[in-house]
Symmetry: C2
Subunit: 300 residues, 2 copies
């Protein structure tokens, strides 16, 4: 077994982790306490880096996704939410069905909203049509959904997972300073969590037929960097990323600087379940061996 | 305008509340800080009442819903999650579509999971096929989804909303004691939040064609009680409920007492956005007038 498989096996056997469908896991016991400590440390970092916090709606409009070019860029990951028909006759068939899951397929209405694949889209949508007088830094956390098919794996790659982000929207120099400071803060967090990290130039896995060299351009311009931690067995895991969007979202959501030009934006994103997995692989399942900042008495 | 309309109007105008679709709201600014304080007070209460906490998966299997008789009882509220087809040709049409929202309807796969309409189903499913040696008390919090059509209203009745629950599974006397203590704890919370509450016998709005007198039976046996707060204009809002399920879930999920008979269960559930609305209607939008437990300096 790889180190990751060993951790997952131990979590499953002790009842600390369970799955209701591929990529949809629950947590309880010491592993949940650890996740809560990590969540708190990341929240402290994020609130220190941002002036404001938003609690975003649990779904995103198709319009916001379309403006972000999400359908063209990552349609393979998309997950949508649908309610059932309000027609009593249709609902009666669901209510009386021997296999309600089958009958639900007939009763479902066309989807009108998406379960957000990243939390920062909510920020650009929430600021849309605005003039950004001074750089704004916003933190947001939410459950995000990306269906990665066969690649789904508990904690490492969830269908649903928890993402904390800090977003900066402003002039190019605001964004550059934000990303610079983000690196320092991430180094501090890695120290607290006892994780040895490595920064890597990266690119997004754009949907091939429409990618048109976007991934290459992203790499050449150094727009995406991932924070990698070793998982053992020569494998690495990205637990956070720093993303420079240049004016992509500024143009898409009409975010303008006082002079009228489109605002720049960037985000720093943390995957909380991945941080949990990294800490467990690095330090083991015995709480006594976890870094002080993550032990029960510390965060109380 | 009613007191609720006045609060919502002020939250919208000041940018503290926004909607991306009917019943899907975001919060920021003082209203979010207030919600976070309320969330924390409710979490303290819940953790005091439970021995364990679970973080549940963000969706529920159809099997768990079927076992709970949810499809027969409340099909009208159900919301499901679906990912798109993995077929590259289908995804290409989404990626290239002028109106991707329309093309998504063709690309969506049949739903396999539901967005949970209540968080406690996860607890019974997570304990299924278990013998309950001693009463177990578990607390869980999650986003829940109920599509109430025309009745959706920000904070009061969300398509998605945040529910904190404490669940008890055990012998009838465990459950009775749990509900008794729940009442005392709720009274304490109401004091902290400065809410005048009233307890009311209630029943669930079972889907009419399959209800078969279940609501009446619920009332006659006193199985459901709601914690009501005045909203002004003669209206009341249920901000919490106490629910005695007798052996319904014990039978459905094969939760057995040591003697072999089905376990009893009950839950106490809190609607966090409703508590926020109740506090805002009762105390107004000026933080200086909020109860001490909810002001910025208190929870820090």
């Amino acid at each position: 077994m790889t180190p990751v498989e060993e951790v997952l096996d131990a979590l499953r056997c002790s009842g600390q982790l369970w799955e209701v469908a591929p990529g949809l896991v629950g947590l309880r016991g010491p592993a949940l306490h650890l996740l809560q400590r990590i969540e708190e440390r990341v929240a402290v970092l994020a609130r220190g880096a941002a002036e404001e916090e938003w609690r975003v709606p649990p779904a995103l409009s198709f319009d916001s996704l379309a403006r972000s070019q999400y359908f063209a860029s990552f349609p393979q990951w998309l997950t949508v939410a649908s309610h059932l028909s309000a027609d009593p006759a249709v609902l009666e068939r669901v209510a009386a069905a021997e296999d309600p899951g089958l009958e639900v397929r007939e009763a479902v209405t066309p989807p009108k909203v998406a379960l957000a694949p990243a939390v920062c889209y909510h920020a650009y949508a929430g600021l849309s049509e605005r003039t950004i007088d001074a750089g704004r830094r916003i933190t947001l956390q939410s459950t995000c959904w990306r269906h990665e098919g066969e690649r789904l794996c508990p904690l490492e790659r969830g269908w649903a997972f928890t993402m904390r982000e800090v977003v900066c929207v402003g002039a190019p120099e605001d964004v550059a300073r934000f990303l610079e400071q983000g690196l320092t803060r991430i180094a501090g967090l890695a120290g607290e969590l006892g994780l040895s990290i490595r920064l890597e130039e990266a690119s997004d896995p754009f949907f091939a037929p429409t990618a048109r060299g976007r991934a290459l351009l992203q790499r050449v311009k150094g727009l995406k960097r991932e924070v990698m931690v070793p998982l053992g067995g020569g494998r690495d895991l990205a637990v956070a990323s720093l993303n420079d969007h240049e004016v992509h979202f500024g143009e898409a959501f009409h975010l303008r600087l006082p002079g009228g030009e489109p605002a720049s934006s960037a985000c720093v994103a943390f995957g909380l379940e991945r941080l949990l997995l990294a800490v467990l692989v690095q330090h083991g399942l015995d709480a006594a061996a976890w870094p002080a900042a993550l032990r029960e008495e510390e965060g109380a």
